[in-house]
């Protein structure tokens, strides 16, 4: 076994850290994270130029990465910088487009075409079997009707990849964003999403039976979220450690109080567990154990994430309750990761089904 990242991955990680450092103070993050279109063109282009998207696909698909560890490397760095750019939306789309086998994936890999994956609906709650949007053929044209909900990255997307029922299958379609009624909003932890209303909207069929590729893409997405969470946890642990060593009450650094010392080390142990399960999932992404391992990781991340978010705030005291102090934003993001691409219970159920 070898636990060292490759030098390429280390370079990507360092480059991302440098690039994102400029954008990570609260006030400049606020402008992107809470104002439409919840993305900054300059940052998006810089991410593209340094290869952040190309790292998400295999060489055979025109990228230079695509392994679980490549995805984890990119998203851990995004997490560390609390980057609100909708890279997750692009990752999910790239994963699906690599199964289509045309040139669209190249435009996704350069970031020139911005995609969002529209699969969830108000009643799906992360379950692909409950997708109810319908596609029909009329005069040789395919038309889509239905509502898609909490579509990450939709406010900045030019095209949507849409899952809909079509001739008894779950199929994947490509839709021009300008033809869809879109209601954009910020998410509580920053970044944009939207409700999409399709009303006999013209669409192009990409994949007839999209179940398997969709599951692979969602696995990659869940892994990405786990890695993002690990990046966030590292920052919260370091910030909390520093605060325990600077804040004084009762004439001593609060880190001198054993009540806090034990809780801090418990938190550090759990973070290492979260890191390990994420690495395990990264190592197995795409193989027969891949989906189950991702669920194990996403479950544990949900549990540990809540602990780390709550304890970081608590050990800081009032200051971490403020908007101005970055810990509150890291904690919110970490918490809300359990609301994306399957929560801890759902992933636990998937693990329980294959004991």
């Amino acid at each position: 076994m070898n636990f060292e990242p490759t030098s390429e991955r280390r370079m990507i990680s360092d480059a991302l850290a440098r690039l994102l450092a400029d954008h990570s103070d609260v006030s400049s993050r606020d402008e992107t994270a809470f104002q439409a279109p919840y993305s900054r063109t300059k940052t998006w282009q810089a991410l593209s130029e340094m290869g952040a998207f190309a790292a998400l696909a295999h060489e055979s698909a025109g990228g230079f990465g695509g392994e679980g560890f490549d995805i984890a490397t990119v998203f851990e760095a995004l997490g560390r910088a609390l980057c609100p750019e909708p890279v997750l939306a692009q990752l999910l789309s790239i994963q699906l487009l690599t199964h289509v086998g045309d040139s669209s994936v190249n435009n996704a890999l350069t970031g020139a075409t911005r995609y969002a994956l529209a699969w969830e609906e108000p009643d799906t709650w992360f379950d692909i079997e409950r997708i109810d949007t319908q596609a029909t053929t009329e005069n040789g044209n395919i038309l889509i009707t239905g509502r898609k909900s909490v579509v990450y990255g939709a406010p900045a997307a030019q095209r949507y990849l849409v899952l809909a029922k079509f001739e008894g299958d779950l199929a994947l379609f490509d839709v021009d964003a300008d033809t869809v009624e879109r209601h954009s909003y910020a998410m509580i932890d920053g970044g944009g999403a939207a409700e999409l209303f399709f009303r006999a909207t013209p669409a192009t069929l990409l994949i007839n039976d999209a179940r398997a590729p969709l599951q692979l893409a969602l696995d990659a997405g869940a892994l990405a979220l786990c890695a993002e969470a690990v990046g966030i946890m590292d920052v919260l642990r370091d910030t909390t450690r520093d605060y325990l060593g600077t804040r004084k009450q009762f004439g001593a650094h609060i880190g001198r109080f054993q009540a806090l010392q034990h809780r801090f080390v418990d938190l550090s142990i759990e973070i290492e567990q979260a890191r390990s399960i994420t690495q395990l999932a990264a190592s197995r992404l795409g193989d027969t154990e891949g989906s189950r391992s991702v669920s194990m990781a996403k479950h544990l991340i949900g549990r540990v994430g809540q602990l780390v978010a709550e304890e970081s705030i608590q050990m800081h005291g009032g200051i971490a309750m403020t908007w101005e102090y970055t810990v509150s934003h890291y904690a919110k993001r970490l918490t809300m990761i359990d609301h994306q691409l399957g929560d801890r219970d759902q992933h636990l159920q998937r693990v329980m089904q294959t004991l």
Partner: protein, 395 residues
């Protein structure tokens, strides 16, 4: 022992319910249920209604305009008020300053300030904490130096809840620099219109404005505004901590939060079934219901048995009560699944709420209520108090 309510108590509960049905404006109740900020005007409107009924300051002695409720009545009122969506009484005047003035104030101070709390002329806020003095309150540094009949106040207070609506603030200030820190603190009342007093908002984690910073620069405050003796302010602060037990466990709020949690778990579906039928989730609801059932009795038992003598019960009730409330908030957020994500204000404005509007703010409420274990003496400080009381300071 007898855990049924007496006829008297039941009659009282019926009276409360009738009162709430007749007098609580529905639009205010709707906003409370949605978790929206109630704002100054509607808070004052509701408190005036309560005051007219004689229920604004139920724990005050009757001679000062209170109702002298016992803990059971208080509990019955609280539970009914939370169910109905009545706004919480802002505690600073009624529950904090009032009892202090009754115990330590001069007759002149009592006659001037107590009626103004009851009739809504004054909105008080609490100026204890400072940037450098949180848990270690006694280290506070805001100075008051005497100049004839005035104190000249310099320094900064922070975390001042709802200060933006207040016209007055009660402060702990340092009146003597030497000696033990606890022995140089005084309790003074400051009109916020005093020149040299400035307030600035602090935005909280979920985006709301409920706390502020207050800056004092050569603010002149009459010495007559001091409550109690000079340098004896710490005694007052401690008195308040011990007497602030009623309601500290938040049983009424938690009981209502449990009802809301069950409601959202019935509305939401996961894996094609109502969430409340999913054992992974429903077991969590059941667990917190059990905790709360126990807490309801713990609360009434401790408040009834220990009247008068501040003991460990306040800390016990604070710790367990806040943890239960935070657990309920956590589950209410998780019950929304993907629909917890939208920034509620924006999603509501665009009329896109994916869930009932009374549940749309569940995530914001969860984040905001992380404060419960931090303020009012953090849960760590409460544990220190408890362990000192129960173990002594054994080393």
């Amino acid at each position: 022992m007898n855990f049924t309510f007496s006829e008297d108590e039941r009659a009282f509960e019926a009276e409360v319910e009738t009162f709430l049905r007749d007098k609580l404006p529905p639009e205010i109740a709707a906003r409370t249920h949605r978790g929206e900020e109630i704002g100054k005007a509607d808070t004052e409107r509701w408190q005036a209604i309560l005051s007219q009924k004689g229920w604004l300051a139920p724990t005050w002695p009757v001679e000062h305009g209170g109702a002298d409720w016992d803990p059971v009545k208080h509990y019955l009122y609280d539970a009914a008020a939370c169910r109905a969506g009545a706004p919480r009484t802002v505690p600073f005047g009624v529950n904090m300053l009032g009892p202090v003035l009754i115990a330590f104030g001069t007759p002149a101070q009592q006659q001037h300030y107590l009626p103004r709390i009851l009739n809504g002329k004054d909105w008080w806020c609490q100026g204890y904490s400072e940037p450098g003095a949180g848990s270690d309150l006694a280290s506070l540094r805001t100075r008051a130096e005497q100049d004839g009949d005035y104190y000249i106040i310099n320094g900064q207070k922070t975390w001042t809840t709802l200060g933006q609506y207040a016209n007055n603030i009660f402060c702990l200030v340092r009146t003597r620099a030497s000696g033990k820190p606890q022995e140089g603190i005084s309790f003074v009342l400051v009109d916020l219109d005093t020149p040299g007093v400035e307030m600035q908002p602090i935005k909280l984690i979920e985006g709301g404005h409920e706390v502020n910073e207050v800056f004092f620069t050569d603010a002149r405050v009459p010495v007559a505004n001091r409550v109690g003796e000079e340098n004896k302010g710490w005694t007052i602060a401690k008195y308040l901590l011990g007497h602030e037990r009623t309601g500290i466990a938040g049983v009424g709020l938690s009981t209502h939060a449990l009802t809301r949690l069950k409601a959202v778990a019935r509305q939401q579906t996961r894996n094609g079934k109502p969430l409340i039928e999913d054992p992974l989730f429903s077991s969590k609801i059941a667990e917190v219901e059990i905790d709360l059932a126990a807490m309801t009795i713990t609360n009434l038992r401790m408040l009834t048995q220990s009247q008068g003598s501040p003991g460990p019960e306040a800390s016990m009730l604070k710790i367990k009560g806040t943890v239960i409330h935070q657990t309920l908030n956590d589950l209410a957020r998780r019950a929304l699944g993907p629909a917890a994500a939208p920034f509620p204000a924006e999603a509501l404005a665009a009329n896109l709420a994916l869930v009932e509007d009374t549940q749309a703010r569940n995530a914001a409420r969860y984040f905001n209520n992380r404060k419960l274990s931090i303020f009012g003496g953090s849960n760590e400080i409460q544990r220190n108090i408890l362990s000192a009381m129960t173990l002594g300071n054994r080393r």
